[in-house]
């Protein structure tokens, strides 16, 4: 894919030294080793480097779907859908209907349809007058889809509900789904509008199962070069798979021929977790315990014992008492044990209060992309067992989707899935 946005990544990376570390943990301040010499960079590296000359449009068509390797805008509206259709051909028709709509939405154009004030408007209209706001739309299929449509033979074996991890308290109201749409944009109204209009265009064919809005700091309010902070105030995404490095993306993110079902080549798996962060408890915790929990210094983002965010991590380093400088049960140390890499795109959320407790219903909408779900599962298993962070977080929602390869011009969403109809 040669989108403007991928060029932005490359421009950024050329301005900075590459880091000789790879992979990330769930709350992003940690790294898992995926092998000697692999290179990674911060997904948030130039999060705040707002390019005012751009037209704020991202290509819908390409080798890979947008919203994966493209830089994360400030807002997400994530939607999990149930299908009401029963056959593969109906799904194909739906995806054919959605394709030009998604393209128009990502171009910041209003949807068109039969004209006349005796009809409902073709476009719900709340984004009228707004620009494309770097909208990306990313489509995926959940394991239940294949059963509902009677095409279980097409389901990759690895596309299965995520296992129960230690400490999970999963709420069905934020879990699973036959299809997903990840809508990311710099304007929450644009992201919401996109999902609303796609779902509306599929009336009678899909219904919303669950949705979650999320945010990152506004690009305008931070400084170029800074990594955005999560609601625990730790820099989130100091290390991540490098989206501008094709070799690394092929190794970690993109399904290659022979990796999975053939139709998923150039696609990826999306894991999503709604992780409540117990802010009240965190806010009563001493700074040194917060830092030992992550394995990093809060203000600088540096690994414990180091000065700068991108200083190298040494898990063997001992303090004068002989104890590890980075505790073995820290989020960073545990995530690295899994020796797996993922590519993450996390957003904070804040949804009012939990009715039963009055606590903030706030936290992280964790999203990661990987070529095989086992990459995420290995990391989450390592974290779930012993992560100090588990005192402060609870996983409340969970889903896994296979994200189709990119859409070719003249083609349609998920086309390769239907090659044999």
């Amino acid at each position: 894919m040669k989108s403007k946005t991928n060029d932005l990544w490359k421009k950024e990376i050329s301005r900075r030294d590459m880091l000789k570390i790879s992979g990330v943990g769930i709350l992003g301040a940690t790294a898992a080793l995926s092998g000697v010499g692999s290179a990674a960079r911060a997904i948030g590296f130039d999060f705040f480097d707002d390019d005012d000359t751009a037209d704020n449009k991202i290509d819908f068509y390409g080798k890979h779907q947008p919203g994966i390797a493209t830089p994360p805008p400030s807002h997400v509206y994530f939607a999990s859908l149930s299908v009401l259709i029963h056959s593969e051909s109906e799904l194909r028709d739906l995806f054919k209907d959605w394709t030009p709509i998604a393209d128009r939405l990502m171009n910041g154009e209003m949807l068109e349809g039969p004209v006349g004030n005796a009809r409902p408007p073709a476009d719900t209209g709340e984004s009228s007058g707004l620009d494309a706001s770097n909208l990306t739309l990313t489509f995926g299929a959940g394991p239940s889809l294949f059963e509902k449509l009677g095409i279980k033979h097409k389901k990759p074996d690895e596309l299965a509900d995520l296992p129960h991890f230690p400490g999970d308290q999963i709420d069905p109201a934020y879990s699973g789904g036959d299809l997903c749409i990840q809508a990311c944009a710099d304007d929450p109204q644009v992201a919401f509008h996109a999902v609303r209009n796609l779902v509306r265009a599929a009336s009678g064919k899909v219904r919303l199962k669950w949705t979650q809005a999320g945010f990152l700091p506004a690009r305008k309010s931070g400084k170029p070069g800074e990594t955005p902070r999560n609601l625990f105030a730790f820099k989130d995404g100091s290390v991540n798979t490098d989206p501008s490095n094709d070799k690394e993306m092929n190794k970690v993110v993109w399904v290659r021929p022979g990796d999975s079902a053939g139709w998923l080549t150039n696609g990826t798996f999306l894991a999503v977790r709604r992780i409540q962060m117990h802010l009240e408890t965190w806010d009563r915790t001493a700074l040194k315990d917060q830092e030992k929990t992550f394995g990093r210094h809060r203000d600088s983002g540096a690994p414990l014992g180091k000065k700068k965010e991108f200083d190298s991590v040494d898990l063997e380093e001992k303090d004068i008492s002989g104890n590890p400088v980075i505790p073995a049960d820290s989020h960073m140390a545990l995530a690295r044990q899994a020796k797996e890499s993922i590519f993450r795109r996390g957003y904070s959320y804040s949804d009012g209060l939990v009715a039963e407790t009055g606590a903030y219903d706030a936290g992280l909408l964790f999203i990661s992309f990987q070529k095989h779900p086992k990459q995420f599962i290995a990391i989450q298993n390592a974290l779930g067992r012993a992560d100090k962070l588990n005192e402060y977080i609870t996983h409340r929602g969970s889903a896994l989707f296979a994200c189709f390869p990119g859409i070719r011009k003249g083609g349609y969403i998920g086309e390769s899935l239907f090659a044999s109809i």
Copy 2:
């Protein structure tokens, strides 16, 4: 108040013709007459006129509180609090504690406190590295506060729970409160951070009762001069009280000597309503019925039968069949019947789905300021009885607060309330 931001209003108004109409309805596309010759303008008039040279700071100190007459940033985090204290002097101490914190927050500065990594950090830290983002903090007192503190004699008579309006389906989980903090900012993380740190600084003295996040279109994604649209896609705020017109603000918004309790002079009353908008039903409604519901054209925002958003409204005009061009049961026509004016600051919200129905839990966090609650009550009574819009909306949350006058440098929040302690 001579804040930078009020100057911005004045700059804007000087570039445009003033309108000879006044007052607004609940969903903002309507106007109520407050008398011949009164002048109003669109609160959203230059919503998208982003001033990149500004330092994104708004004065905390002044004659009036910020967040009322200052232009609305793109995000709100509204918090209703219960007090856990029992005396007026404890409340005064709390307000004295909050005052320098609020000032620092609005300056984009981190909170300071005892240093040391054996303590929790003084600032929760998630806004570290972000600028002030035009943060405003607005404080108010609900009717229940005065009973809890044993100071009912200080409660203005008109500060009472809002009445039940026709069609109300009020959920206690989004209603009432002893105190409120309205935090508005261009960055949702900055607004959330402000409330979180104020509540944390008052640990054991207040607890959150309910909160609601909301958004407007991002300033960057729209065009200067355009009025933002609500989730029904209608321009929201085409007419409103003119915040740059002191005479009008004194007439509609600011409590003047003799209007209410003396301590509230230069303050105002804040009415807040969480209004669910039934998007699915709306999206199935013909454009002409949508337009008759509001009394305006959707795309242009013009009154029905007119061409431009700011064309004058003529409720007497008839079509060739002799029917009113603007239906008598339209939101606009009904709101004008009340012959009252308010000053509104509305935000859209989108909180996932309603558990029972799977419908969007989305709509409008309606906030209005007025010198007497009867202004809002008269309009809402007129709307509640017959508004065509009521087929498409349900009021789910409700609260009323008396917002203190502005804070003088060297003084503290709510100082006038304690003058007689």
